[in-house]
Structure formats: C-alpha cells, structure tokens
Amino acid sequence: MSDDPKTVIAARAAAELRSGEIVNLGIGIPNLIPGHLGHDTDIFLHTENGLLGVGPRPAEEDIDPDLVDAAKRPVTALPGASYFDSASSFAMIRGGHVDVAILGALQVSEHGDIANWAMPGKDVLGVGGAMDLVVGAKRVVVTMTATTPNGEPKLVRECTFPLTARGAVDVVVTEQAVFRFRDGEMALTELLGDATLEDVERVTDARYAVELEG
C-alpha cells in the first residue's frame, strides 16, 4: 500500500463503513474513500444538494450539468437513486437518517469539538452544510493529517479556530492513528503503518488515553 498520508487515511476510514449505511462524504480525503471500499461493502452515498445514490464520476461525454455533488462536480446516479429538495435533504441529516458523515477538519479538540469551516482572522463567509452534518449524522468520522503543513498539531486541547460544533466527533483517522471519543474522552485505539506511540505523542497536543484494540 502507498505511504501517501491521504491514501493511508482514506483506506483506514473506509474500514469504518458497514454495508447498507447511508454515508455523506465531504470534499478532500473523504472523496478518496469509495476507491478503498471492498466489493462486498454496499453503501449509499448521500449528497446534501439533493441526491441519495451518488454513482461514479461520468466520462467527459456523459457529463450532465443538472447532476452534481455538493462540491459542484459532475456525478452519476445509481439505480435506486432519488432526488429531493434541500429542506428534505437536511431533514435527513438533522433527523439522524444519515448514518455517517466523513469530513476533513482544521482542528479537533480532546472533547470532540470540531473546527472545519473558518480560519481565525480570515473570511467567515462560507459554512455550507458543515454544521448541519456534524450535528445531525449518527457518526462523525474526521479524516485529517495529524499536523498542518507548518507542523502544528491539529488534535488540540481546545479549538482556537471558529467552532463547527461541540462534542460532535466520534472518530478521527490520521496517517498515524485512529482515535475514538467515548463519553467525551479521547482514546487512541489503533496505530497505522509504522507509527509508534511516541510519534503520535510528538505531534498531538490533545490529551488522550491509549486503549489499543487487538
């Protein structure tokens, strides 16, 4: 397997999904996940602009301008797909009918708070469906590299960036490890690749228990 951090994260996050689940994928690393699902993992992709049953990207000649995902990229619709308006789409999300939201983050705190829509001191003018998804989905899986490009930890004690939601995160997958939140407590449950506990500790500001699962 590739050592590219994004590939490692996407492959591990894919293993969080179970057959039959309704899944909403954010942009970035989450979009790599379908390529890592086993043939026997049959999930249904929901996109908040109004489609359940998102299929693969179309060939250039099959692009339909009326058929896009939430990142406004062309997609296809699988047999059994349905279309709905935006209020219905977010009723599905807020109402707990979407099993899993997988999305990127700028920071996740040791309490499971998430910041993923705005940088401090920059424009706070685009939130889209981020807040609805992290509050509404039954499970929230965050896929992100352990640090910023400048090497600053993204797993922090308290989010310093504008919050998307408090206590909303269930799982974080980085290129080094899997963390789970249980009753507001953060635990490292799995090391990925060659990463050691010391490697993780060096780049993590958040406090966590170590509860490695066999």
Partner: protein, 234 residues
C-alpha cells in the same frame, strides 16, 4: 421583514391560480428597488439564468437583498448583479464560491448574513409554510448563533431561527405546464421548490412549457398555486 403582511399578500395572490407566460423583461419589472429577492440554484445548477440576466440587463432595481445559497460566480448568475453594485445585502450559506462577493463584503460594499445550509433551507420552507420560527441544534455554541435565542431541548442546546420570505422569488424548473405546475430535473431541484413557496410573487423560468396533462400529477414537485408567472428559458 414584515412577515404577517407578506404572508397575507401571498394568500391573496394565490387566489389567482392560473400562471401567465410573460417575457423575461416583464417578469423582472416586478422586482423593485429595495426588494428582497430569492434566487434558486445550488451555485449555477438550477439557477434561473434567463431571469437573472434580464434582471441585470433590463431592470434598474437596486439596493436589493438577495437570498440565495451562493452569490453566483464571478460575472455569472448573481455575480453579474454583484458587479453592478445592485446587491445591498446577501443572505446565503456560502459566499466563498464567488471571491468577488467575499471582496465586496470585506470592503463593506455589501452586508452578509451567513446561515448554515440546512437552516437556510428550513427557514425558507418555514417562510412559505406559515411557520413563525423553529429551534435547531445546528450552530448552537458557534459564531453563527450569536445574537440568537438559545434554549435547551431534551438536554441539547438549540438555536431559534426565523423564517425567511421575499418580495419576489426567481426559480428554475426544467418543465412547467401551462398552469405553472413545475417539474424539476436531477439535482437542479435544490432550493427551487422551497423558494417558490416563500415570496409574494413567484416567477418560474422553465426549460420547456408543456400542454396541460403532460406532467404526471405525481411528479409535480411545485403545484401551480405557488407560481404567479412563467418565463421561457432563453
């Protein structure tokens, strides 16, 4: 927004249930300076581009409050009106898709109200459905809840959100029949059916206007009582 007053006007206009096919020029003459205008579409997908172009080129209405998920793209869709300096305020979930809108907000040229996308959709739905407001857990404890009433429901913090209505809604549907029943295609549906319900005057741009009876009743997403005028897409 004068909620009760515009709600009454909506009921009055709904009594005249047969929509009329009019020109894009006549359609945009319904938009007056200072109006709140809802514009359907997710970005440009499902946006009423003929009506927006007519508003940009054939109308002088200015000082507009625009309710739309995005403020178009640079120079396209609502991005045209933005360049003309005719938008005073935007109510949206994602200004960021048009960098010129972000620049205009930062320069103080337009006022921005940012709302989470699901709350935005539900507020429009509420506006059209005669609902006076609703509590949602979304945005509780964040910047976007500032100034709003918060209360705990079932132990979970919720935020009180207000309905959104407009003077005029501009929506797009792939097909309309002669009465103004609307049929949407694929993900071009998005906010259009919601916005069609939430304005004093609703103008639908249709890709195709078909004779009565050609739309299967079960497939009509917007019954014609919501639609005041039809315009054929150019």
């Amino acid at each position: 927004m004068a909620f009760d007053e515009s709600a009454r006007t909506c009921v009055a206009s709904a009594a005249v249930s047969v929509s009329t096919v009019i020109s894009a020029e006549e359609a945009v003459s319904h938009v007056k300076t200072g109006d709140t205008v809802m514009v359907g579409g997710f970005g440009l997908v499902g946006a009423p581009l003929t009506l927006i172009d007519a508003l940009a080129e054939l109308s002088d209405a200015t000082d507009l409050t625009v309710v739309s998920n995005n403020i178009g793209e640079p120079g396209r869709g609502l991005g045209k009106l933005l360049r003309q300096g005719r938008i005073r305020r935007g109510i949206s979930s994602f200004f960021t898709s048009n960098p010129e809108a972000v620049a205009a907000v930062n320069a103080g040229e337009i006022e921005a109200t940012l709302i989470p996308q699901g709350t935005f959709a539900e507020a429009i739905r509420a506006g059209g459905a005669g609902i006076g407001g609703f509590y949602t857990p979304v945005a509780a404890g964040t910047l976007l809840a500032e100034g709003k009433e918060e209360r705990s429901i079932g132990g979970v913090p919720h935020v009180l959100e207000s309905p959104i209505r407009a003077d005029v809604s501009l929506v797009y549907a792939a097909r309309a029949d002669e009465l103004g029943n609307l049929w949407y295609r694929h993900t071009a549906r998005n906010f259009n059916p919601l916005m069609a319900t939430a304005a004093t005057i609703t103008i639908a741009e249709a890709g195709e206007i078909v004779p009565l009876g050609e739309l299967e009743p079960e497939s009509i997403a917007t019954p014609h009582l919501y639609v005041d005028h039809l315009v054929a897409r150019a």
